[in-house]
Amino acid sequence: MRGVGSAARLRQYLPAIAVFLAAIVVWEIATAGPGRRVLPPPSDIVGAFGENAAQLRKSALATFYESLGGLAIGTFLGVLVALVTSRWASVRGVLLPVAIASSAIPIVAIAPIMNNWFGVLNPLSKMGMAALLVFFPVMINVTRGLVEVSPAATELMRSYASSDAQILFKVRVPNMLPFFFTALKVGTTLAFIGAIVGEFFGGTSDVLGRIVLQSLSGGRFDTAWAGIFLGAAGAIVSYLAVSLAERLVIPWYSSLVAQER
C-alpha cells in the first residue's frame, strides 16, 4: 500500500519537478547577459549563499523563530476565540463582525504600532505581525469546524443523554481538526509574510527582511534573492511539517479525501 502510494505520489509530482528544473535552466540562460541587472542568475544566488553563509543562516533562524512564534500565538488565540464563539451563539453574533472588520485593517500600517508596543528590537513586535495575519483564518476555520456538525450527529449524541462537554470532545473537536489543519497550512505562509513585513519597519539587522533591504540598497541583488529564497524555504518547511502532523493526527482524513476524488 505504502510503496504503491509513494510511487504514485512521485509520478504525480514528477511533472512539477521537471517544470521547476526547466525554469531554473531558462532563468540561468536568460540572465547570463545584461538581464543580470533585472534578475541575478541562479548561479549568482547560489554564490551569494556561500559568501554570506553565516549571516544568512543567523538571519534565517531569527526570522524562522519570529514566524513560528507568531504562528503559535495567532493559532492559540484563533482557537481560543473560536471555542468561545462556537460555544455561545450570542458571543458569535458580537465577535464575528468585529473579527471580520479587523481583517480589513491594512496590516502594514500596524507594524510601526507593534514596534511601539513591544519595542522595535523585541522579536515579539514581529511575532505580533505574524500572529495578526494567522489569527483570522484560524479563527474562522476552527469556528466553522466546531459549528458545522451534522444535526443528526447532535441528535444521536442527545439520544445518549451526553453532556455538552462530551459533544464538544467527541463530535465538535474531531469534526474541526481538518478545518484546523487547513487553516494552519495557510497560516505558515502568512506567518512568514507577517514577520518579514514587520522586519522592514526596523529592528535587529540579522533578519531576512533587513538582509533583503540592505542588499538591495547596496546593489547586491543576488544576496537579496538568497534572503527571499530562505524565507520561502522556511514557509515551505513549516507547511510540510504541518502536513506531516495532519497525516499523523487525522490519518482517516487523507484516505477519505482520496476516495472522494
Binding site: 443528526a152 444521536l156 449524541m157 445518549y160 482524513y253 484516505s255 476516495q259
Partner: protein
C-alpha cells in the same frame, strides 16, 4: 445479559413500553399561522413488539418517532416510555436510535463508532471491548473492526449504526427509515437481519418506513398514518408466524396484509385529497 428494566419495577398495571396519549405537534409558520404536524395520536406499544409507522411524506411519522425519543417536544399530550416521561427515559438511556443516514463518524473506525455510546455512558474498558465485539458479530461485521466508515458499503454502514444503537442494550430501538437509501436487494437482506437481531435481543422496536412490504415483513403491528394533519388512520395486526424468512414474503397471508396496508394508505390519501379540495374552496 438482562436488560435493566425488569418486571420488579413498580409500574402501572398494564405496562406498555411506549404509551402515547393525545400527542399533538404544531410548528409556527413564517406568516404567523401554525401547521399541525400531528394531531390526536394515541398509541400503546407493548414490550417486545415491533411496530412500524407508515404513511405518505409529511404525515409526521419521523416527527412522532423523535417525540417518542425526546428529541422534539410535543405541543400537547403525554409520552410515557417504560412508565416514565420520555425525557426521563432519555436520561436513563432507554433509546437506541438509527437514522436514515448512518451518521457514523469519519474519524472513528467501525470498532470505535460502535464504542461511542459506551464511552459516553462510561462503561468499563473490558465491558466496552466485550460489547463492541458482540455487537459487531451480531451484525456480522466482526472482520471490519479497524475499517473506516468510508471504506464500507451503504448497507454495511447501516449495520454498524444498528450495532452502535444496540451496544448499550436500550429497552427501545427507534429506527427512522434506516434502509430508505439502500437498494431493494440490500434492504431485503437487512430486513431479515433486523428480524434475527430483534429475536435475539428482545428489544421493543418502533420503525418508520415508507415501504409497505418492509413494514409488513418486519412488524407485529403496522400503524398507518395520513398527512395534514398527521394522524393514525388504521392499525393493522400482522399475524404472520415467527420466525419469518424469505418464504414468508411469498405466502398468501403476506400478500393479503400488504394489500390491507396499501388500501388503508390509499383510503386516507383519497379522503385527504377531498379535504384539501374542501380547504381550497374555503381559502
Amino acid at each position: 445479559m438482562t436488560t435493566s428494566q425488569g418486571p420488579t419495577e413498580p409500574q402501572p398495571p398494564v405496562s406498555a413500553a411506549v404509551r402515547l396519549a393525545g400527542v399533538e405537534k404544531s410548528f409556527p409558520v413564517r406568516d404567523g399561522t401554525t401547521t399541525v404536524a400531528l394531531s390526536g395520536i394515541d398509541l400503546d406499544v407493548a414490550p417486545r413488539e415491533f411496530v412500524s409507522l407508515i404513511g405518505p411524506s409529511g404525515c409526521g411519522k419521523s416527527t412522532l418517532l423523535r417525540i417518542v425519543g425526546d428529541l422534539i417536544q410535543p405541543s400537547g399530550g403525554t409520552v410515557q416510555v417504560n412508565g416514565k416521561p420520555a425525557h426521563q427515559a432519555r436520561l436513563d438511556r432507554d433509546y437506541g436510535m438509527v437514522f436514515q443516514a448512518p451518521v457514523l463518524f469519519d474519524w472513528r473506525t467501525v470498532e470505535a463508532n460502535v464504542r461511542l455510546p459506551l464511552e459516553v455512558m462510561r462503561f468499563s474498558r473490558a465491558e466496552r471491548d466485550r460489547r463492541v465485539r458482540e455487537m459487531l458479530d451480531l451484525v456480522e461485521l466482526g472482520g471490519f473492526l479497524s475499517h473506516y466508515p468510508h471504506q464500507l458499503s451503504g448497507g454495511m454502514q447501516q449495520r454498524v449504526a444498528i450495532a452502535r444503537a444496540l451496544a448499550f442494550q436500550p429497552a427501545l430501538l427507534l429506527m427512522d427509515e434506516p434502509f430508505g437509501a439502500l437498494d431493494e436487494m440490500t434492504r431485503e437482506r437487512l430486513n431479515a437481519e433486523v428480524l434475527r437481531i430483534w429475536a435475539q435481543t428482545r428489544t421493543t422496536v418502533i420503525f418508520v418506513t415508507h415501504s409497505i412490504p418492509e413494514a409488513v415483513f418486519l412488524s407485529t403491528r403496522v400503524v398507518v398514518m395520513s398527512a395534514r394533519p398527521g394522524r393514525i388512520t388504521n392499525v393493522v395486526d400482522i399475524d404472520l408466524p415467527q420466525p419469518r424468512t424469505e418464504q414468508t414474503r411469498e405466502t398468501e397471508r403476506y400478500f393479503e396484509l400488504v394489500t390491507e396496508v396499501r388500501e388503508s394508505l390509499r383510503g386516507r390519501i383519497t379522503s385527504s385529497a377531498a379535504r384539501a379540495r374542501a380547504e381550497g374552496a374555503i381559502g
